[in-house]
Subunit: 475 residues, 2 copies
């Protein structure tokens, strides 16, 4: 466990001195190669949630390790864990220079519902200058930009920092083994800053850097009524129906103002100041466009907050899946024995995932009438995080965006969760720069996930510029 | 449609004069044959709700027709419909004698959830003197008793009435084509009484005859939020979640007294008199046994009514199936585009199925917030029915039970639905005798459906006795 003696590879790096190409030119010259390699990576269905893809997830780890080797690391390792391995790589050029620890993940979300994909999720295609595939953006596409940015700096002799890579295969299922790995390898992971691309920017015209992330509590509930499915005519009306009861329990989790009713849920929520809320709401946002994009007539959320606030700085509760009874074709008059749901809550500073999971469990169990039995099983969680905007690294990232995109990035609060950001802070004492190049419209976690070729290529360039400015500002 | 020229078979019946055996002896002597034949019938998976069993459903119709021929009918036909065929057979011995029209169905409920069966649903086995298979009781077992009772009377020269058989293949999906058939074949179906075994008796110690049946309205609802599955981190809290909304809508369909909240729902419900309620509650019923059998801590239902009343004379609303979002292994943080449910209501006199479906649809649509779109699709329905207890046929059925079981049967109101009972009354002017031999514990519509061998054999005997007493009392 967290033992990296397995599959250790040392690579003697040969300097490319044949010509002194600029990073921008190298990236331009290698566009097709960068795309081909990403396509090969996207073709491996590394769905960490589904055991049937086990071999593919391991295969993907090998692919990432080999990519690091080919890009020029000194050391590349497959570090086994109790689950899927962590790929570690490093290039130490000078101990006096700053060290950047790159984090990313090679696992992807399940692809279903498959029937809603316009092309097979693991056969990447390009349409309208976008790459369509599961993981195109989240996070294979964004993670691989770092490998290619590193290759670019190596081949053009422009690497200005030491680099470490830590690429995991369990981000989509809770990163449990990463936590163990980080705690056991603090020395190995020593660095000055953590750099992650697993978030989105406001738009192609408005670059942004994520400075806040929500945490997560994910649980599964099971409601059991009678010990077997019953005929709804013979027993209907006289025996508690677990689907009806589950619906009632779920419905009661929010009040008429869309506030979550779990006692104590909001106790630790850190409210933003009016200034902070104003700054947040100053970001370009078009509600009509938002509704049009999702084909909805109205948005919905907690009373008293804007859409940007609801999606960024307020905690949520969503049912992610529900099932029970007869769900086939036609009609079956059954009063089922069981009904289940997957329920997750996004958390904000200073909520604590384990505490919220416990509050949920206690409350949900208390909601059950005596006609049914309830089981609550925690899946996984993660802590919310806020990253500083007054650091050298943030300034360097801002410089990089200005140079590559012609505009200073706007700091934003994202609704998604990258639980390891708070883990890195707690265990390694390191801040993170969240330099994301996705767009909210990329349909990550959805059918037809895609990633703009422009975002991919421009992202590689921006990352090389981060290293340049980070080294300069660190002098 | 409803045109029976296809597959008409005329059979010359040879009288069995070799010996004058009594019906009881014939039944005893042929026990193994009667079981073997039923097993062959049970092996054909005639699931009418699922198109993948189409060929098997047709095959089952052939099986039933051949069984009638072998039992001794003069005429047996496969009558095609727009869906599955109706098997018709008749034996007219004397126009001056009363004619019994036997109704039954050869289709069965879907077998899933398959994993909860202890033995494969379409491979019948005997355990503890019970036959385990889908359809063992509902209705292949109970329907086939009539074929074997008829055979017994033919072989023992004891048939005292004319007999007509009408065995359909769409009872579990709404009997739509039967209605068309009945309307088009009133002459052919002329009779004095309809006899059906598709209900249950109170217990082996307490025979009963069903005199009331509930009706049914079955609908499917679909709630759509955004036009695609979304990342619950990026959009959660800001976009209406169709699962949460569906749960809220379903929860609101009943109030805190478990009364259905659809406006107008109870308007036409015929309340029973205090005497009728008292008689109903006088039936032997052990609430503790009932709860123990279902492994539930408490029953649940409309305030102010007993369990027998809730299951027999009060209308209900049950969710029969629900699905939406990610329902695979592990966790997926999705805010889904759609959520669906199958919802059915059991109706009592004088509620009308189409009216209730319309009230439901109107109300359900009105519940939807403007963040989602709602589609309501009616599946099928049927009318409630009450059959008379002061008729010659009821008295004959009572006589038959007294002779076979040693006890007069108790008239009961069943919670299930056999919609065609009211159709027969309206279209053919005929009353029905519901002579059921199942037990509520037979797990019809559930995994491990079974039927007691004793019920099967004793039922065949009781049916032959019905013919004897009915002819006598009709003189």
């Amino acid at each position: 466990m967290a033992n990296c003696t397995n599959h250790v590879t040392f690579v003697a790096f040969k300097k490319n001195t044949s010509k002194r190409m600029s990073p921008v030119d190298y990236i331009k010259d290698n566009k097709q190669k960068f795309l081909d390699e990403l396509f090969s990576l996207l073709r491996i269905p590394s769905v960490s949630a589904d055991p049937k893809y086990k071999d593919d997830v391991f295969k993907t780890a090998d692919f990432v390790k080999n990519s690091l080797v080919q890009a020029g690391v000194d050391k590349a390792e497959i570090c086994p864990t109790a689950g899927y391995p962590i790929v570690y790589g490093e290039k130490m050029i000078d101990p006096s220079l700053p060290t950047v620890l790159v984090y990313g993940h090679y696992d992807v979300q399940p692809a279903d519902p498959l029937e809603l994909w316009d092309s097979p999720p693991f056969e990447p295609v390009i349409k309208n200058d976008k790459i369509y595939a599961r993981g195109a953006c989240d996070d294979k596409g964004q993670m691989y930009m770092h490998v290619k940015a590193f290759e670019t700096m190596m081949k053009t002799n422009t690497l200005t920092c030491n680099v470490k890579f830590m690429i995991e295969g369990e981000e989509e299922v809770g990163s449990e083994n990463l936590e163990i790995f980080v705690k056991a390898n603090k020395k190995k992971l020593e660095a000055d800053i953590i750099l992650i691309s697993d978030t989105s920017m406001i738009s192609l015209d408005t670059p942004s850097i994520t400075v806040g992330l929500r945490g997560l509590s994910y649980l599964q509930v099971e409601v059991t009524g009678p010990d077997r499915d019953l005929h709804s005519g013979v027993y209907g009306g006289a025996v508690g129906n677990p689907i009806n009861e589950l619906c009632k329990m779920i419905a009661s989790l929010k009040d008429e103002k869309n506030r979550i009713t779990i006692p104590g849920f909001y106790d630790k929520v850190l409210d933003l100041t009016n200034e902070e809320r104003k700054a947040l709401n100053d970001a370009p946002f078009d509600l009509d466009e938002y509704k049009k994009d999702l084909k909805i007539a109205a948005v919905s959320g907690e009373d008293g907050y804007t859409t940007l606030e609801r999606a960024g700085i307020r905690p949520t509760l969503d049912v992610n899946g529900i099932w029970g009874g007869y769900i086939g074709e036609g009609a079956k008059t059954v009063l089922p024995s069981k009904a289940s749901a997957k329920i997750s809550m996004r958390l904000v500073p200073n909520q604590v995932s384990d505490e919220i999971s416990e509050l949920f469990t206690k409350h949900f169990e208390s909601l059950a009438p005596d006609t049914v039995k309830v089981k609550v099983i925690p899946h996984h969680g993660g802590e919310p995080a806020v990253t500083p905007t007054d650091s050298v690294a943030y300034a360097a990232a801002s410089d990089a965006f200005v140079e590559a995109w012609g505009k200073a990035p706007i700091p934003t609060r994202d609704g998604g969760s990258i639980p390891i950001v708070s883990l890195f802070k707690d265990e390694l004492g390191l801040d993170t720069v969240l330099m994301g190049f996705g767009l909210d419209s990329d349909a990550i976690h959805s059918p037809n996930e895609h990633y703009g070729i422009h975002n991919y290529m421009k992202g590689i360039e921006t990352i090389t510029l981060f290293y340049k400015h980070y080294a300069n500002r660190s002098k």
